[in-house]
């Protein structure tokens, strides 16, 4: 359990107001964002009040630059990368945009035949929407790679897509671990398929980083996305790792920071906190991975016992699945009813995705895995992370039975039927 403090932004002229945390919140949404780790908070606040632009030449600038470079080295080390591979960005979304657009533009500039973008059907919108924008506006041809019923992209599927016309492929992007169902892709194998034709391979490792071992070298990828707030760092900080020799056109032009690929004054406190969080998560990972997997297995087993018709989506628990991910379908229920009722009991989790107005949509990931719309709508993601405990699982298990019973009564009205 985790008590949270909700800050209420002070009104102009008013005194700051703080609302006390609701005392027993069961936070099962670590894949959305996870609380900042104390190490990250310490690094962040230590740097926050120290003036100094990492591009400035005076002492303050040098201090900032040193913090950035030491953070870069430390992150590179935990990621099995070279420091110069790292380009700091403002988060996972920007990194994905930079990778997809940047690779597409540079590859196409070198050879105009390269128009095809191959991405898995289960990518995060930061990849999917970027690629479809390129298709709509920039002459790209978007091809989504189908997945099996666990969400996996088979290397043969990628090979067939590449080999149908290798010279026309601009890039391939397949995420390392799925954000909804936690399925882990065989990234190195997929990268090799692309490399057989000298095609660059990008992977979105936002969900994988911190939950499983993620070595840039071992991934064999040419570009890799990470985001700080998913590992206990601050929101709004991320990085794109780009292998030496791989050309990426910039999105943002200006002062020429970050190898001229990403201009903009460096976010020194954010970068420092990112590195601190990465160091902490990496040190804990071997033990935490086992701990979370066993908590998750417990959660799944006990929820299935409470709700006999429920099913686990995605890969079987084990090496093919993120340890903290449980994604379940409750037939006959609407996910947003379940979420609301659980929220009322202080249990926080997530449905697939919501549009900008807040309307729950059936998950494109589940649909790509072959699920029907009703099945997709009736699903919830529970994701564990640092701070998750057996008490969180107990709290969920205590309420899930009655919650599902209620939601399925509402589901009957909506014409959904169990089974």
């Amino acid at each position: 359990m985790r008590g949270r403090v909700r800050a209420v932004v002070p009104r102009p002229g008013g005194a700051p107001e703080w609302q006390l945390p609701s005392t027993d919140v069961t936070y099962l949404d670590h894949a959305a964002t996870t609380p900042m780790r104390p190490e990250a908070v310490a690094a962040f606040t230590a740097v926050l009040t120290d003036a100094g632009n990492a591009s400035s030449l005076h002492a303050g600038g040098r201090r900032a630059r040193r913090i950035v470079e030491e953070s870069r080295e430390s992150l590179a080390e935990v990621l099995g990368a070279r420091p110069s591979d790292l380009i700091f960005t403002a988060g996972g979304t920007e990194s994905d945009n930079l990778a997809i657009k940047g690779l597409y533009w540079s590859r196409r500039a070198a050879d105009p035949r390269r128009r095809r973008i191959l991405v898995s059907a289960v990518e995060h919108p930061a990849v999917l929407d970027t690629a479809s924008w390129l298709a709509r506006r920039q002459g790209a041809v978007l091809e989504t790679l189908p997945v099996d019923e666990t969400g996996l992209v088979a290397p043969e599927v990628l090979r067939a897509a590449v080999e149908s016309d290798p010279a026309s492929v601009a890039l391939v992007s397949v995420m390392w671990a799925n954000s909804e169902v936690g399925t882990i892709q065989p990234v190195a194998e997929l990268a090799r398929v692309a490399h057989a034709r000298d095609i660059p391979f990008h992977t979105d490792a936002v969900q994988a980083f911190g939950q499983i071992e993620t070595s840039f070298a071992a991934s064999e990828a040419d570009a890799l996305t990470i985001s700080a707030h998913k590992i206990g760092g601050p929101v709004g900080v991320g990085a794109l790792l780009v292998r030496r020799g791989v050309e990426v056109e910039p999105l943002a032009h200006g002062g020429g920071q970050e190898r001229d690929v990403r201009s903009g004054t460096l976010n020194t406190p954010g970068v420092a906190a990112f590195a601190a969080a990465a160091a902490a998560v990496t040190a804990e990972l071997p033990a935490e991975r086992v701990r979370l997997a066993s908590l998750r297995d417990d959660l799944v087993r006990r929820v299935l016992a409470e709700v006999p018709g429920a099913t686990l989506n995605g890969a079987a628990p084990g090496a093919g699945r993120l340890p903290g991910n449980a994604h379940l379908t409750f037939p006959g229920c609407e996910g947003d009813s379940l979420l609301m009722l659980l929220d009322a009991h202080g249990v926080e989790c997530s449905t697939g995705s919501a549009c900008s107005a807040g309307v729950a949509r059936p998950s494109h990931v589940l649909l790509a895995m072959g699920a029907g719309e009703a099945h997709a709508r009736g699903s919830l993601r529970f994701s564990l992370g640092h701070g998750s405990s057996a008490a969180d699982v107990d709290a969920l298990v205590a309420v899930i039975g009655p919650v599902v019973a209620r939601a399925s009564r509402a589901g009957e009205l909506a014409g959904l039927s169990a089974g």
């Binding site: 807040g358 009564r409 509402a410």
Partner: protein, 355 residues
Amino acid sequence: MSRMRVLAAMSGGVDSAVAAARAVDAGHDVTGVHLALSRSPASDRVGARGCCTLEDARDARRAADVLGIPFYVWDLAERFETEVIDEFVADYSAGRTPNPCVRCNERIKFAAVLEKALALGFDAVVTGHHARLDEDGTLRRSVDPAKDQSYVLGTLRPEQLAAARFPLGDSTKAQVREEAARRGLAVADKPDSHDICFVASGDTGAWLRERLGPRPGPVVDAETGETLGEHDGAYAFTVGQRRGLGLGRPAPDGRPRYVLEISPATSTVTVGPSSALDMRSLVAERMVWPHDGPVSCTAQVRAHGGVVPAVVTARGDELDVRLAEPVRGTAAGQAVVFYDGDRVLGGGRIRSLAA
């Protein structure tokens, strides 16, 4: 009232925000819900406002934040499309003039939403309608006659009203706005919605033309039978309409002409003098009428119209309504609601009118 679990339908406007606030003050456990009624909520509207835009969802969410209540968006776009929009189009194409707000109350707010709320364990649904609902289930007009909305609620069945709460009925609109400002609700001075929320342009005729296509036909003089002109779709007209008839020349006697009748089967629009608009009786269907024998009361036949004395007699599943004074400007498809003073006695949908 004892503490209840209450669902507050929050449109993003000032009324529903204050209604939710009052439910919180009354000590209830309140959850806010915004109904997403449009399939493409990205379509922000310019100038006008209704219940279907991203901005409204945002405003509703901010009001819920200020009240400190949980807030969700319920997707009712599919239900709204089949039960309200499709029906609206079908009504026009059958020559009726529908009231989609009445329909939305009957089928969405006090049906789909209410049923879902009850199934999920809520005891009541709170809305920002300006109407009063007594403990015994009697619906009455708001104290603010200019804002009274009992007319668009008048065809709800007793079981629909049983779980409804209208906390604003005892307040005027001005009081509601003032209260919203006092509570720090940013929607305090948001303009009222008037038009049909799903017709983004506000131009119902053009909207219908897009869906129904051109259906040209004659404009015929009721007295002479002469064809005075052509139109490209009878659905663009409403009974009682005077402007925009597109008739090049005035009537021989120089008096203005009005739409008297629309016959979709032949796409004919019949026009004539204003005196021919006077209707003295009507038949209503789909009624809510828990009374026996002829009842003397008053009748309201338009959303923002006055009332006229009437005698209502139930005949099978229809109501026969004699009006003591002629009414104008209503048409088949509109609601008729009956009152005893400010008490709603029942209502129905106008099937036909007669002089």
